[in-house]
Symmetry: C2
Subunit: 186 residues, 2 copies
Amino acid sequence: MSDSAITTRQRLLDVATELFRSHSIAGTSLQMISDELGITKSAIYYHFRTREELLEAVLEPLIAKLRELVDEASTQRGARAQADAMLRGFVALAVANRTLIPVLTGDAAVGEVLRSRQDWAAIVARQMQLLAGAQSGMAGEVGAAIVMSGISSAVGLDYAGTDEQMLEHLISAGRRTLGLRGHDVK
Amino acid sequence: MSDSAITTRQRLLDVATELFRSHSIAGTSLQMISDELGITKSAIYYHFRTREELLEAVLEPLIAKLRELVDEASTQRGARAQADAMLRGFVALAVANRTLIPVLTGDAAVGEVLRSRQDWAAIVARQMQLLAGAQSGMAGEVGAAIVMSGISSAVGLDYAGTDEQMLEHLISAGRRTLGLRGHDVK
């Protein structure tokens, strides 16, 4: 692709993400995106042949980051340190994308795109395993499930505090849920 | 209503709930419900004029139960006992409806029905307050948000264990998240 094609592609993704945030994914049409960018719908189709392709391109950086976090956490020594690294990384990712994540988790098309990816189920399964690692059996699994869904939803609410404070509280609450005491982990 | 009209109404709700479980709400048409029951679509319209009315009738017992749990928890003495009662009640409700709740939380129409009800926002706000009560400020709010969403999602997963074990693990994890120690609560 030429430099200008790369720029248009990135602007298209940025505008689509903004419209998803303000109008939801189901509420955003390709027409709205082309109006906002001042380009034709066929210019959009040059970059993304379907809505699903566009949506997958919006999700791609988040999926890549999550895969990276899973790989990083796996290099830690010991199940508790792995669980803690996975928790801290996931909280940071969720807080950094706090206006986008609630839009994604509530949308049926996002679920379809993720299920269609061969790598997604394995990434989520690894994340769950890492989070569950500090507790045995079902206790670990239940804790990991609460932390993953709970944090994704909790970042979408409004609190009287900064994002930095939210991040600290989410890590503290997540550690308690997962059975990680503050003094046991790095 | 006559006895047979009451019976038909209840059978209609039961069949709709089953189809929601197996096909999702968005994937269930009035035609599918009438086929399953062996009645005409106009017989359905006699009981429920719109899809939204039918959906609200399916949600009604859950909303009523949640309101009851909030009222009961409020009668406990002390913020910690209130948080614990609310947690235990909510976990029991979620586990008892574990195949239905994931279907409801992922559906846009459910969100619209709940938002259209005058009482819903107040019930959820009270539930959050009760769950948050054992911790101050933002820590309490973040913990309550994690517990509410996390438990609703966690009941939808499969575990190698019984529903009773799931219930115990959810209560334990929820207590840790909310800062409730086992020996501090009833």
